[in-house]
Amino acid sequence: MTELDSGFTLARQLLLAGDARLWNIVLLSLRVSLTATVLACLIGMPLGALLAVGRFPGRRVLVVLFNAMMGLPPVVVGLLVYLLLSRAGPLGAFGLLFTPTAMILAQMVLITPIVAALTRQVIADAWQEMHELLHSLGASRLRAAATLLWDTRFSLSTAALAGFGRAIAEVGAVMIVGGNIDGVTRVMTTTIALETSKGDLPLALTLGLILIVLVLAINGVIFAVRGWSERRWG
């Protein structure tokens, strides 16, 4: 009780003081997870659309695979990316291990299947509604996929959001490939894990609160955008 109380008091002081170390951690978290989300969308959304619209051998297997990969444990992704980037690994020559780039890569691998699987679902529904029209107008499947990606852009914001939510909240992958180095690769989640185990609750609590507020705020923005778009475009 008292520990929690003093934790909150100190947390408030940290927040109000504009502690530079704290904000660096928050900013790095945002940079890593937002970049990973953008990259995952660039790969996962076209991939999901092709899985929904395309007809090629192995499509069903890929759909099942991507759906299964939505539940990949972050630590396993971290381990795989670690092996790729470690000095002896195939990408070891680039010296990316324990850098923010490695963390972006790991989170991208983690959430691309989520974005792709959710996109596939959205595009499959739209395809169901529009495939006769698009065939009738002579659109190729590639063109149809692009058309539907644009037409469902507001629904797809939810897929991006799900990816971002997963990225910003995960610990395991960034911990392994980033190494949780103070001032270099320390993000909100890894700091919370570390500070809690050290017994420094105020910093952990502050970051926890910021994390929750951030996720809520981004959810709110996306919700508002979807509502606006439905009123604007139907």
Partner: protein, 228 residues
């Protein structure tokens, strides 16, 4: 009237179901309306002719290939403006953006919708949405326009306007092939009636003769069911 499409023993039977059974039919009129009860296979026939479905047997023999467009029962519109929807249809065939825009605007104008060009298409009324779909088809200047129950869910005023547009499209030289459950509409729009029932071709008759004295017992029965 010379035959522009001959259907030879056309069969469509996915899985265990038999939707069309050896339909042989010559289409020759400028405006043909396909009538028949629900589940007769009217929509399937249109889709086979338009190339959206492939027959499991038989074949279609075109006198010469015709450029086609199709309008569906439920207008399918993209999340963009009314004009954007018409342009989208053109853009797939015509790379010149300025030309697309001019033709799209002209088509919207003919459909009486130019004042709604910048309006989000999906927020228009049901009747206006169907007219956007008609304008999109018309802009393509098809030689054959296929319509699947285009006024099924429209009020009388919208239905009248849609019929006016279909007539104008026919007058501009396109052949019309459509289905409807509105017998008054069939009377007003058709030159010939094709009657199908339970996947079978029953009769093809000039419109006046069909409504006065249909040749088949099935068509007689079908017409008797109409509520005056």
């Amino acid at each position: 009237m010379s035959t522009w499409l001959q259907l030879e023993r056309l069969r469509f039977a996915p899985g265990e179901r038999r939707i069309l059974d050896d339909v042989s039919l010559a289409l020759a009129a400028g405006r043909t309306v396909i009538l028949g009860p629900n589940g007769a296979g009217k929509s399937t026939l249109l889709r086979l002719i338009h190339g959206l479905l492939r027959p499991h047997g038989g074949w279609l023999s075109w006198r010469r290939p015709l450029s086609q467009a199709m309008v569906f029962q439920k207008p399918v519109l993209l999340r963009t403006t009314a004009l954007g929807n018409v342009i989208y249809g053109l853009k797939l065939k015509q790379p010149d953006a300025a030309k697309c825009r001019r033709r799209a605007e002209a088509a919207l104008d003919r459909a009486g919708l130019l004042h709604l060009a910048a309006h989000p298409a999906r927020l228009l009324s049901g009747g206006e949405q169907q007219r956007v779909a008609l304008a999109r088809a018309w802009a393509l200047e098809p030689e054959l326009l296929i319509l699947d129950e285009p006024t099924a869910s429209l009020d009388p005023a919208s239905t009248r306007e849609v019929e006016r547009i279909i007539k104008d499209i026919a007058d501009s030289g396109a052949r019309i092939l459509m289905t409807t459950h509105n017998l008054g509409q069939a009377r007003r729009l058709a030159e010939e009636i094709v009657f199908i029932d339970d996947g079978q071709m029953i009769e093809r008759t000039a419109v006046a003769d069909f409504f006065k004295a249909p040749q088949s017992a099935a068509a007689k029965h079908f017409l008797k069911e109409e509520i005056p």
